[in-house]
């Protein structure tokens, strides 16, 4: 791009602008009040004028200036757009094209004619059709009259104080002082009298004022120029010190002193802000809030939601359109408020897991077994109330494992296991659910005993045919646990059936996997419409995707050599091991060209690893999970979606599934030789 001729670039740009302006004008003919089109045409003319002047197309700039002014009046509502005006501007367009093609041609006659038409179309004001040559205005030197005042230097006292937010708005007061120093000899005194106590200081606020005596040959205008950007909002006194005159900055001299009072400024955010800036859900600050306050707030929100739904019902039967519209707004706002509340109430599961260390420790001592507790996924966030309701069931399941599942050390040794029993508590999110599992490496569930007990309790017919899972699920039936099972530890009135009922009320499911001699794993899946994970945001082609950070092992760049070497084989060589990889752009069929430096995100599900090749790694992202609808349940690659700060959707990759895909691919290619 650097070797292109700017004039050529301007010509190309002008051609595009002409197209834009023309189609905008034609659209306007259909709807003369379309403000968006009016703005677009104005913008086009404005850009054309500005760029034209920059590149020396003076005639074009001058002529376009008039069209732009005319359209500006339409834009501001001073004048209505009429088909006559549009026709005039369209004709003017053709002329502008000529001005671009032949900037040095003789266009004056045509220009005058067209401008006259234009003026007629906007109501005939602005008599002059003179081509105003836009001057190049140079802020720093308005040679105000006296080019004299040479040689002799003058002494000045300059006293200034900038508004509080000057630094926040990018003004560097030290830079101003430097500029004054460049004008001549300075003595600078600072006025620090308004600095507040340490506790109240805001580092971005300017509390200082300055007084400078300056001896310079430069005229007063040079001093004023230093402050040109901040002139309107500051206190500034420039006083010439006549020989033997006191340094009273009294504003009554013959020399016009410049005393400018600070303008009260409070920026009104009346302008529309675009989508890119709206929500920022990351805050570096934390606020401690007593849990009861959150609960109260939640209650209020709950009541609000109820009242809102009543409002909606009434509004729907009402014929009052305004009422309906407001009711819709209220519905949306209370939904958003509820979502925000849900996020506030999210608590990492680790807070629950913490209780278990003590519990397992106590249980181990009571049973005389050695038990090790491991936890995983403590940062997975769960709604506060869900955590509370899960506490008892989990405790019961843990007790069960310790009591019945895990064998005493001698039995374990005899079975060839380590004498220390192991319980793993883990939490993870998947497809809009939180899955909490308790796994032990004990005896496993004895199917025969379960069967016998179920038959004895009358739950099943003798010899009834049951799948393994159905058999195991019988454990959760009320009436299953008989008195025999109630030991000191497990018998708190919290039987397995109560566990199931609790999970049911949370609309969750329980799954049991058990291998005789090896252990059992009970999984509780609780659906949540909202769960938050730490994610890694990546780009593949034109789409952005989130990889759960908990599954990410490392990220590397795929060097061109590795890339080439890996083709035909499905492995990337990573230090000493071979890791199967998936090229996501192929898997997703993006059809776009790959970025030159592909990146590899190595993910793992504990045992298996796979590398995911992506175009770009964007960064960490706090991911609020939005479940996908049932219509997308079949797409196993993704476990959910999230909404990014700019409103776009990013899909969340299902790590488990991708690892499986990686393995499948590996197997395929191995089979193929």
């Amino acid at each position: 791009m650097n070797t292109m001729d700017p004039i050529q670039v301007f010509r190309t740009e002008a051609a595009e602008l002409f197209e834009q302006i023309e189609s905008g004008l034609l659209d306007l003919l259909h709807d003369l009040s379309d403000q968006d089109q009016i703005d677009a045409v104005f913008r086009g003319l404005h850009t054309l004028k500005g760029s034209g002047a920059m590149f020396g197309f003076e005639a074009l700039a001058a002529f376009t200036h008039h069209c732009e002014s005319a359209f500006d009046r339409v834009r501001k509502g001073e004048v209505q757009a009429t088909s006559e005006l549009i026709a005039a501007v369209l004709e003017a367009q053709d002329h502008m094209k000529a001005l671009v093609e032949k900037p040095n041609g003789d266009h004056d006659d045509m220009s005058q004619k067209l401008l006259a038409k234009l003026h007629a179309a906007v109501g005939g004001k602005n008599g002059h059709a003179a081509t105003a040559r836009p001057a190049v205005v140079v802020p720093a030197s308005t040679p105000s009259a006296a080019a004299a005042a040479k040689a002799a230097s003058t002494n000045w006292v300059i006293k200034f104080r900038l508004p509080d937010n000057a630094m926040a708005n990018g003004t560097n007061p030290l830079g101003l002082l430097d500029e004054l120093r460049e004008l001549g000899e300075c003595t600078i005194t600072v006025d620090a009298s308004t600095i507040p106590g340490l506790a109240e200081i805001d580092p971005t606020t300017l509390y200082l004022g300055w007084t400078i005596t300056l001896e310079t040959e430069q005229p007063r205008s040079a001093i004023e120029d230093v402050f040109i950007f901040v002139m309107d909002d500051m206190q500034l006194e420039i006083t010439e010190i006549k020989a033997a005159a006191a340094t009273e900055p009294a504003p009554k001299q013959a020399e016009p002193d410049l005393v400018v009072e600070p303008v009260a400024e409070k920026k009104q955010a009346a302008t529309n802000t675009g989508p890119a800036d709206a929500k920022s859900n990351k805050s570096a600050e934390n606020v401690r809030v007593p849990a009861e306050r959150l609960d109260e707030l939640m209650d209020r929100v709950g009541e609000l939601v109820i009242a809102q739904s009543r409002l909606s019902q009434l509004a729907n039967i009402s014929a009052n359109i305004q009422l309906r519209s407001v009711s819709e707004d209220v519905e949306r706002l209370s939904g958003e408020l509820r979502d925000t509340m849900m996020v506030l109430r999210m608590v990492p599961v680790g807070s629950l897991f913490g209780r278990f260390r003590r519990l397992v420790h106590d249980l181990a001592r009571e049973t005389g077994k050695t038990i090790e507790l491991e936890t995983e996924g403590e940062t997975t966030e769960v709604d506060k109330t869900v955590i509370e309701r899960l506490a008892d069931p989990l405790v019961h399941l843990a007790r069960n494992s310790c009591d019945h599942g895990l064998e005493p050390p001698e039995e374990r040794r005899a079975a060839g296991k380590s004498p220390q029993g192991r319980i793993l508590l883990s939490a993870r999110q998947q497809a809009g659910e939180v899955i909490i599992t308790i796994k032990d490496d004990g005896r496993g569930i004895n199917r025969d005993r379960v069967r016998a007990k179920a038959e004895a309790s009358g739950l099943i017919q003798p010899n009834a045919a049951l799948s393994d899972q159905e058999l195991l699920q019988l454990i959760f039936q009320p009436g299953f646990s008989t008195a025999q099972e109630v030991t000191n530890l497990s018998g708190r009135g919290v039987g397995m059936d109560v566990v199931k009922r609790t999970i049911d009320t949370l609309r969750g499911t329980i799954n049991v996997v058990s291998h005789p001699g090896e252990g059992s794993e009970v999984s509780l899946s609780i659906p949540l419409t909202l769960a938050i994970i730490d994610g890694l945001l990546v780009r593949v082609g034109n789409g952005r995707y989130v990889i759960p950070l908990s599954a990410v092992e490392e990220c590397l760049e795929l060097s061109v050599e590795d890339d080439m070497r890996s083709r035909g084989r499905s492995f990337i060589s990573l230090r000493d091991s071979l890791v199967p990889y998936l090229r996501l752009r192929e898997l997703f069929r993006t059809g776009s060209k790959p970025d030159p430096f592909q990146k590899v995100v190595v993910i793992s599900t504990g045992s298996e690893r796979v590398g995911l090749v992506v175009d770009q790694i964007i960064g960490d992202h706090q991911t609020v999970i939005k479940a996908m609808s049932k219509l997308h349940h079949d797409v196993a690659t993704f476990s959910g979606a999230t909404i990014l700060g700019d409103g776009d959707v990013a899909l969340i990759l299902d790590v488990g599934h991708l690892v499986l895909e990686g393995q499948k691919q590996e197997a395929h290619l191995r089979a193929a030789g």
């Binding site: 913008r43 001057a135 708005n169 990018g170 560097n172 302008t271 675009g274």
Partner: protein
């Protein structure tokens, strides 16, 4: 260490000229094409100065300046806007939104370099 400047303007030719002038003056220049692009770029890298046009599609300069000033990360960064000589109203609105200074269009690119130096102090 050269300063990083972000220029925001929907006109490719103006972007090009300013980039040439500023790069020749020893600055590093990144370009953005409208307010949305400008915001995104400002958020993803650190700039010492932002020069922006006001009249742009998708998000105009005023809105972008306001948005930038709302983020603590951009407090104190000088923002210069481009304005036309006749528009005093725009000047005060831009200043109210948090702009630091301005340059009048059409401008001599060397003038822009001077203002950049003034505002950056180097």
């Amino acid at each position: 260490m050269s300063a990083n400047i972000l220029t925001v303007d929907d006109s490719a030719s103006i972007r090009m000229t300013t980039k040439i002038a500023l790069t020749n003056a020893g600055y590093k220049v990144t370009e953005a094409v409208d307010g949305v692009d400008g915001l995104n770029k400002a958020k993803s890298a650190s700039f010492d100065l932002i020069v922006t046009d006001l009249n742009m599609p998708n998000m105009n300069g005023l809105a972008m300046i306001e948005a930038l000033r709302q983020s603590p990360a951009h407090t104190g960064i000088p923002i210069i806007f481009l304005t036309t000589e006749s528009d005093a109203d725009m000047k005060s609105r831009a200043k109210a939104a948090g702009a630091t200074g301005w340059i009048t269009k059409p401008f001599d690119p060397e003038q822009l370099v001077k203002i950049a130096r003034k505002v950056l102090g180097k």
